[in-house]
Amino acid sequence: MTAPVDVPVPVQAGESVWRLLWRRFVRHRLAVAGAGVLAALALAALSAPLVEAVQGGAGMSVDLLSRFRPPSLAHPLGTDELGRDILVRLLYGGRVSLFVGLTAAVVAACAGTVVGLIAGYHGGRLDAFLMRFTDGVIALPLLPLLIVLAAIDLNKLGVPADVVASEHVSLYRIVAIVALVGWTTVARLVRGTALSLRERPFVRAAEAQGATALRIMTVHILPNLASPIIVATTLSVGHVILLESVLSFLGLGIQPPIASWGNLLTNAQDFILDRPLLGFYPGFLIFVTVIAFNFLGDGLQDALDPRAIERRR
């Protein structure tokens, strides 16, 4: 966005495709910054147990005698309403939010790719039906429906009781819910490209040689779809993190004691009048993460899409 993107990058002799893509990508200063911020956040989130250990392992334990401590050397961001270290909680929350964001986005992208490939390659009535269905899902008031989905009793669905009672079930449930509605963008994108690809000579040639539909879709068409899928998935991670955080905030996503940036805000809401900073941190981290993913996706789009460069001349 900040770089003079309208000047095309000249291809140098003997340069590999990857190097060319890399040079196109690094011109997007904001995209590079986004990637840097995300790497730092991921690293920080991964080091959560380390930070906890440095504090003597007391970061996550309840200590009612040291509630709402101001920032100090032992607690860089202070403590929350139960005396837990805010920084450690934020880092553990980041693990969950990033994990859910990435997993759900990838699962949704896979589902969308399958639907889009089938619709685009087969065409005809199947295509018409699948795309109508996709349009229908897009048009629905999503969040209200997600709330019902999140409230479903898994026991009534026949999920074994011990699975339902396990601590991590809210994590998988939210990945499933978000993936269930998040596949539409990728499906439309893939379908559109597949539709035009199937008329191309190399696909025709493969058909003439008797390749099966499955082989043509996976071996011949799919690799050509890599860049739009990567871009759409990157952009959707931010969206997924927003969805997860709002569901968790409403008490329907990740359940305490597992921390996520969304449910940290639920707690903070009760103390928002006295301790506004408690509510500031998690939301700010969500904001930074989502905007970083959006910048990254925007940069990838320009680096990977040769037409985007073409168009900007």
């Binding site: 008031p141 209200p144 479903i152 955080s245 409403l250």
Partner: protein, 321 residues
């Protein structure tokens, strides 16, 4: 025209019918049922009583049969009774619907009033400082979690400065126009900021694409001044994709309403849906969700009509296919 409208209406009805079954089934999968709620309210109910009550209310029947019964009653205008509000579902819905239409209408209009000019200005000066600034704000708007934004607005304007109420609607008619309006400022601002970024980026992209067309070059070549080129020749065509995308976003408006209304205790549809799902008010949740779906479908339908009206190249016949 008439054929197209009928075709689209028919389609929308089909989607609505399908959704009513899906939502009915989903609500059936929520924890507990009405008899469980009676048991919590009255510990004297024995399990035999419970079984008898379930049979009496048809709760032991298969879901398809129960849905059929609900549908028959609903088609005759009987949507049942709301548990939370202790009145017929429709009576509980009406004020909420009015509140949401007010909230969404205001922020939708405001968002478009800001986004369309901003997108056009950015597109006419691509890669200028101003363009980067507008783009930056747009990205920030897309990326900000709206529930957090709402909370922060409350902290700043209701707590720190104390100039605006943190939520609610106040007593209508108290304190004149401002008495009513001041309750709208923060929710409308939250909703507007959340949606203005996306609209701006759509408008900018569509405008840049349009300004690259040959007929724009022609218009400039024959000496039309830049304002006329942009506002007269380009805007009309650039609006076509924008209208479609914004219309597809209609469903998102309800998502935004749900978040904002919950934060600001605004008694609208979004909050009603949340409260009814959380409060096991099955009848109300079902109808409220379907009403939200219906309104979204109506919005999409209107967008289809606007789409064709904006672009004379598209005949209704083509869209039909």
């Amino acid at each position: 025209m008439a054929r197209f409208l009928v075709h689209r209406l028919w389609q929308s009805l089909l989607v609505l019918g399908l959704m009513s079954f899906v939502v009915y089934s989903l609500i059936g999968l929520m924890p507990g049922d009405p008899v469980d709620l009676m048991i919590t309210a009255d510990p004297k109910i024995t399990s035999e009583d419970a079984a008898r009550l379930r049979q009496l209310y048809g709760l032991d029947r298969p879901i398809v049969e129960r849905y059929g019964n609900w549908l028959m009653a609903a088609l005759q205008g009987d949507f049942g009774y709301s548990r939370l509000f202790a009145k017929p579902v429709m009576e509980a819905l009406k004020p909420a619907l009015a509140n949401t239409v007010l909230l969404l209408g205001l922020s939708f209009t405001l968002a478009l009033t800001i986004a369309l000019p901003a997108g056009i200005i950015a597109a006419t000066r691509p890669y200028s400082k101003l363009d980067y600034a507008i783009n930056g704000f747009a990205f920030a708007g897309i990326s900000v979690p709206s529930f957090w934004l709402g909370l922060m607005l409350i902290v700043v304007f209701a707590v720190l400065f104390g100039v605006l109420p943190a939520g609610g609607t106040g007593d209508l008619g108290q304190g004149g126009v401002w008495g009513t309006l001041k309750f709208l400022v923060l929710p409308v601002a939250t909703l507007t900021i959340a949606s203005v970024g996306g609209h701006t980026r759509y408008m900018r992209a569509a405008m840049i694409e349009t300004l690259r067309q040959d007929y724009i070059r022609t218009a400039r070549a024959i000496g039309a001044d830049e304002t006329r080129v942009v506002l007269h020749h380009a805007l009309r065509n650039a609006l076509i994709p924008v209208v479609t995308i914004i219309a597809l976003d209609f469903g998102n408006l309800f998502s935004g309403a749900l978040i904002t209304e919950t934060i600001f205790s605004w008694p609208g549809m979004g909050r009603l849906i949340f409260d009814s799902v959380m409060g096991n008010d099955f009848n109300l949740a079902l109808v409220a969700l379907l009403l939200a779906t219906l309104l979204t479908l109506v919005g999409n339908f209107l967008a289809d009509v606007a789409y064709v009206a904006l672009d004379p190249r598209i005949s209704f016949r083509e869209v039909e296919r």
